[in-house]
């Protein structure tokens, strides 16, 4: 498969990017040239706010040029439940999402090299149905894990997800078990598994493959949560701490090994993989 080219869609990931030349940082509200913003990997040069990026941008950032081979690129969501909600059919939503994002699922998976070292990799994209964990998502992450096991490769998963995909019902929930079963095989074979948690990583994704890395890395400020903030506030009827459910909060409480700036991510992953001596 050819190296990915930047698509139109990447230029409008965030709702903030509507102005022509300028964009405004959602965090510090500085006005930044779109081009500068983009060149800085969607990270605010003033306040280090890490905005979401597409899986293609992420791929270009992490994997050596011309080394990436995609696995199961044609897997798309299937509307097994014939799910309809108040706003319409899931089927139509799938079609529309595929058209708009130019992606087939909420994750791309494959293998390639990082500074010359072969790895299996999965990269989620929040634009595709909120990065939700559908059967296709689970299947792809699972298959890439199997590929890593077969070829004795480290496995890197970059999460960005609102959680399970309701429109696929229990089959979505079961993807939590399925992906973890895949990663359990890596653990059994003593293969490294590195999980990168980006904004947001929540619900069923945080409670499955995203949280079980040998090393869990996060981007600064990323929201990482099991239950939603609102649900918790309703349950405990208390105000929550300001930094609650941020990457920084999770590191403080023992669940994240390190918080790494986007631009340093590749270097850090490669450094860690060098410690693997099997």
């Amino acid at each position: 498969m050819a190296w990915f080219k930047k698509t139109e869609t990447e230029n409008r990931i965030s709702g903030e990017l509507k102005l022509d030349i300028w964009t405004r940082c959602p965090s510090c509200e500085s006005h930044i040239y779109k081009e500068e913003w983009h060149n800085n990997l969607n990270v605010c040069p003033k306040c280090n706010y890490h905005d979401r990026i597409s899986c293609i941008q992420r791929l270009n950032l992490l994997v050596d040029k011309n080394t990436y081979v995609e696995l199961n690129p044609d897997i798309t969501p299937i509307d097994i439940l014939h799910f309809k909600d108040g706003k319409g059919n899931y089927k139509d939503k799938i079609k529309e999402t595929i058209r708009k994002t130019n992606l087939n699922e909420s994750v791309i998976t494959g293998y390639g090299q990082m500074n010359g070292k072969k790895v299996a990799i999965a990269i989620m994209d929040f634009r595709f149905l909120g990065g939700s964990l559908g059967s296709g998502t689970g299947q792809k992450i699972f298959m890439a894990a199997n590929y890593a096991v077969e070829h004795h490769l480290p496995y890197i998963v970059i999460s960005a997800s609102g959680g399970a995909r309701m429109q696929e019902g229990m089959l979505s929930l079961m993807q939590m078990a399925k992906t973890c079963a895949g990663i359990a095989q890596l653990k059994k074979k003593n293969l490294p598994y590195i999980s990168i948690l980006t904004d947001p990583t929540s619900g069923g994704v945080s409670a499955s493959y995203a949280m079980i890395g040998d090393v869990n890395m996060a981007e600064p400020g990323a929201l990482i949560a099991f239950a939603g903030r609102r649900v918790i506030e309703q349950t405990i009827k208390q105000k929550l701490p300001d930094n609650f459910q941020t990457a920084e909060y999770l590191r403080e409480h023992g669940f994240i090994d390190m918080i790494i700036n986007r631009k340093d991510m590749k270097k850090r992953i490669c450094e860690i993989l060098e410690f693997y001596q099997r």
Binding site: G169, C180, A181, A184, F255
Partner: protein, 319 residues
């Protein structure tokens, strides 16, 4: 709590009670009338319970009189020896476990326990477990693995507890670890949804070789109320969401998410604890028999394949 759709049943039952009282007071014999009414009542129950919506089934699954783990234990198992604590932080009363014997088969029993009375509900946090609950469960599974006895889990929870402390102590980590470890535990695991199987909190003890559901239990990725308020933007549409999510045992059997439905008596479990327990017992014995005879390697391969086939979407060329 009376269920809305049970009103016709309730009406006949009330009439029967009246007639019985009248019979005593007036010393007139209404036996034949009462028998007739009882027949009608039974028929009414059968009719209603064979035509329930998903939303109605959810009400049954949540019924306060529905048997909970503490009801099932003495009816199904002998010699339950509870084990406490996660050896890290605490002992969760919402998710309990211990050694138990089922028809001379030794096993490790783990399950949510909602409790029945208000005091019990509070003590048990309505069956909503915290990280320490899931970590205790995993510890007990490791003991089962060491002792070489199968594991049986009973699922009955709205979900893992969504509280500040639970988040802080790693609800996500605890569930994720269980999913990962349960894929590799080297003894048979049978899992049964008895009431409400609420998303991550359910599957956190729900990875097994055999997944069973009681007839009127439900298993869902999200509560219909939660789903409705997100996708319909109004929790009022919960009944629609319940239907759309396909959360009932028959629907999930069709989707191959579960292996078998354990039949409840007519009118559901809360009308007959004994029969429900007996059906569960028979079914557990059957599957324990099947799983026990399998060598570990085969057991684990089959467990892996069970999850591999769930939502197994194939890559298609030329989409």
């Amino acid at each position: 709590m009376d269920l809305e759709f049970e009103k016709p049943i309730k009406e006949i039952e009330n009439k029967i009670t009246e007639l019985k009282e009248l019979s005593i007071k007036s010393k007139v014999n209404f036996t034949s009338e009462i028998t007739e009414l009882e027949k009608r009542c039974q028929k009414q129950i059968e009719e209603i319970y064979s035509n329930l919506t998903s939303w109605q089934i959810l009400q049954i699954a949540r019924h306060p009189k529905r048997p909970v783990l503490q009801d099932y234990i003495p009816l199904i198992f002998n010699n339950f020896i509870e084990l406490h604590g996660d050896r890290v932080y605490g002992d969760d009363r919402a998710l309990i476990g211990g050694f138990a014997t089922l028809d001379h088969q030794k096993l490790m029993l783990i399950g949510h326990n909602k409790g029945k009375t208000v005091e019990e509900n509070v003590e048990r946090n309505f069956g909503m477990a915290k990280p320490e609950g899931y970590r205790k469960a995993l510890r007990l599974m490791k003991i089962a693995e060491k002792f070489n006895i199968p594991i049986v889990t009973f699922i009955d929870t709205q979900g893992a507890y969504p509280g500040l402390e639970a988040e802080k102590r790693g609800q996500a980590e605890a569930i994720a670890s269980n999913l990962t470890e349960m894929a590799q535990i080297e003894v048979p695991i049978i899992t049964l949804v008895t009431g409400e199987g609420g998303s991550g909190g359910a599957i956190g003890i729900g990875v097994g070789d055999v997944i069973l559901m009681l007839s009127f239990s439900i298993y869902s990725v999200i509560s219909p109320e939660g789903c409705a308020s997100i996708l319909w933007r109004d929790a009022k549409f919960a009944p629609d969401a319940a239907e759309a999510l396909q959360i009932t045992a028959p629907a999930l059997l069709k989707l191959k998410v579960i292996n078998e439905i354990v039949k409840e008596p007519i009118g559901s479990a809360h009308r007959n604890y004994g029969e429900t327990a007996l059906n569960i017992k028979k079914c557990l014995i059957k599957y324990l028999q099947i799983l026990k005879s399998q060598p570990v390697k085969k057991l684990l391969r089959r467990r892996f394949e069970l999850y591999a086939q769930m939502g197994n979407i194939k890559s298609k060329q030329g989409l």
